[in-house]
Symmetry: C2
Subunit: 379 residues, 2 copies
């Protein structure tokens, strides 16, 4: 009945193998109700705390989900790479922040071209980088808004807070770029063991940005945008007073990285991988048809293994090969060859980037194929 109705709506029978247990495995699925709930919740919390939300799209790399975020009230999006930003512009997103230094003539040319189409801003963290932007944009008769990247402790290229004023002075008069604020990536927060530590890192992030901005404002710099927010600190907006914008992206799907630290529960995890038991070498171990070519070898800080098996909390995914997952139970393993299971991966962002397609589901039933438009767009 359902199938016939769907056929009449133009769906193919292939699409109508339609519950999560009917999908060809390994299958990457997103529960759209959970994703929408996560998106709305953070959008509301951001508004309540006077924060703009500009989610990082590296988690989904997809126009479909970016539009979902914009409709929920997000200001715009954040992209890691120019290639992602170009795809997002093609998908109708018209306010894009590229949180990455744009280096090299080929990329500067593409950035200028993109800037003619949509509102696009980026970061600077070196005089060389700022000069490149300046040359390219000045030659095009345009000005790009830039945030100064402040080092969040990772030593990943951000300007050290104590050097920010000197750096800003050095690039102050460059034509073609306009400093409008600061950007911070607090990657060390992912070393947190518990919520207290998350909150402590979040406070540090705020203090660093607010104090550095204050010093720069005193010297007449425009500091309209203070952009913060790892995927952990974005969940603690009450500690971000004085910040204007968060960039959390992870929250749309959540994963074991968030379960690890109780910033999400399994029912908040929208992205799961469905896999089939293909072998049972002994009574305790089963082998499933998913491996690093779908999940990668990304580990969690505190959780053992390579994912959380829904409905089997005691089952450990103790190893992965490229196309094999090894699952072990202390007791006799209840799974048999042909059974399917649903896994919350350690790291959702890398999973979408590997999937040939993502299945959008609602109440466990197939709704749509979602294309990962910006898959592989790391250039």
């Amino acid at each position: 009945m359902w199938a016939r109705e769907q056929c009449e709506r133009g769906r193919t029978m292939e699409e109508l193998k339609n519950t999560i247990w009917d999908l060809p495995t390994p299958a990457v699925t997103v529960d759209l109700d959970i994703a929408e709930r996560n998106v709305k919740k953070m959008a509301q919390e951001a508004v309540q705390h006077g924060l703009a939300h500009r989610p990082h799209i590296k988690t989904h790399r997809s126009g479909y989900f970016a539009q979902m975020q914009i409709k929920a009230g997000c200001t715009g999006i954040t992209a890691a790479k120019l290639g992602e930003a170009e795809v997002m512009a093609d998908d109708g997103i018209n306010d894009i922040f590229i949180a990455y230094p744009i280096i090299g003539e080929d990329k500067l040319e593409r950035l200028v071209k993109l800037h003619r189409r949509v509102k696009v801003s980026t970061i600077v963290n070196s005089v060389e980088g700022a000069r490149g932007l300046s040359r390219a944009f000045d030659a095009a008769g345009r000005t790009i808004q830039v945030l100064i990247e402040i080092d969040g402790g990772l030593n990943r290229g951000g300007v050290k807070p104590e050097a920010a004023f000197k750096f800003a002075e050095a690039i102050r008069d460059l034509p073609g770029i306009a400093i409008v604020g600061l950007m911070y990536y607090g990657g060390l927060i992912y070393n947190s063991h518990n919520i207290d530590e998350v909150e402590e890192y979040t406070r540090r992030e705020r203090d660093c940005l607010v104090q550095t901005a204050s010093q720069l404002r005193d010297h007449g710099f425009c500091m309209d945008v203070l952009s913060a927010g790892s995927s952990y600190s974005g969940k603690r907006p009450e500690f971000l007073e004085g910040i204007t914008e968060i960039r959390s992206g992870h929250y749309i799907f959540n994963d074991c990285g968030q379960l690890d630290i109780h910033l999400a529960e399994p029912e908040d995890c929208a992205l799961t991988v469905i896999t089939t038991v293909v072998s049972k070498p002994d009574t305790h171990v089963v082998i499933c048809d998913v491996g690093t070519k779908s999940l990668t070898s990304d580990a969690c800080h505190y959780r053992k293994g390579y994912g959380y098996v829904i409905g089997h909390p005691d089952m450990e995914i103790y190893a992965l090969n490229e196309e094999h997952a090894f699952l072990r139970c202390e007791e006799e393993n209840p799974l048999q060859i042909g059974d399917k299971i649903q896994i919350i991966p350690n790291h959702a962002c890398v999973v979408t980037n590997l999937a040939e397609k993502v299945y959008g589901m609602r109440n466990g039933v197939f709704e749509r194929v979602i294309t990962v438009d910006a898959k592989g767009k790391s250039v």
Copy 2:
């Protein structure tokens, strides 16, 4: 001059940014001369040792390289997944071994369909799996050749050698399948610390297959195919007497996994990743525009870090984020923002699967874009 000639041959200017240092980064490149040399060398060595070579295409997932291997004399190819095999058949490869248990009605249907198009064989490692194949092929009035997968010590689903006869007996009379030999994956060999250990694992692999086959032959089983060969043992064919076929795939590109154990030298590594320095947070550290979204977090057993920087053997890629590589020198780092470097990755197989495209180069000059046809085909 070169550019104009190429344009006249229909190449676009974009393709003509044409040395490895002109490619937009991060760029995955393959030196086609090295790849061809690797392919020919192993094909010749296999012939010399009376071995068929059926390379695993998981390393390149590409019709272009599969055809290169067939032209060099390979018998056929090995695929991990049905989806890869389907793409290889589309690419004109007509002898395909799927080294993976095919479980589930949807996959069995696809396998039967593929079997109507090309010569395709697969493995069995469980009675349930064998019964599934039997039902599907018998119903189609066809017979598929199967190898019994023998456990190579990984406990990944292969039948234990001592249980092989009993297993073969249990599936002997199933219609629609024909046992033609044994298959072994000796993944433990990758724990080798040196060539001596590689050779020891290779001997064990041979002894296990030869002895198990001998027992089964005594009971009248056809044991025409004894298929062995990890990417390490395939490089020691002199220890594989009695084996009929190797499946090494890795050898076409090589990578740090092979450098680690001196089964390859840097000049044998065909696949490299070109990346640009985008930040220099201090005098010792530079940040490049490549991360786990291109290289994955796969580590080597013995080598520290995430790849080998050609021309800078002392530089350590000590960390990766999704789009950032962190490189450190003991001395002052000679690299500056905008410089490009060439990296041999830890694990080539996962890199092609992530690349949007692979650039085929010759003498450092662009020749062709190679499509990773079977990218993401893990289903």
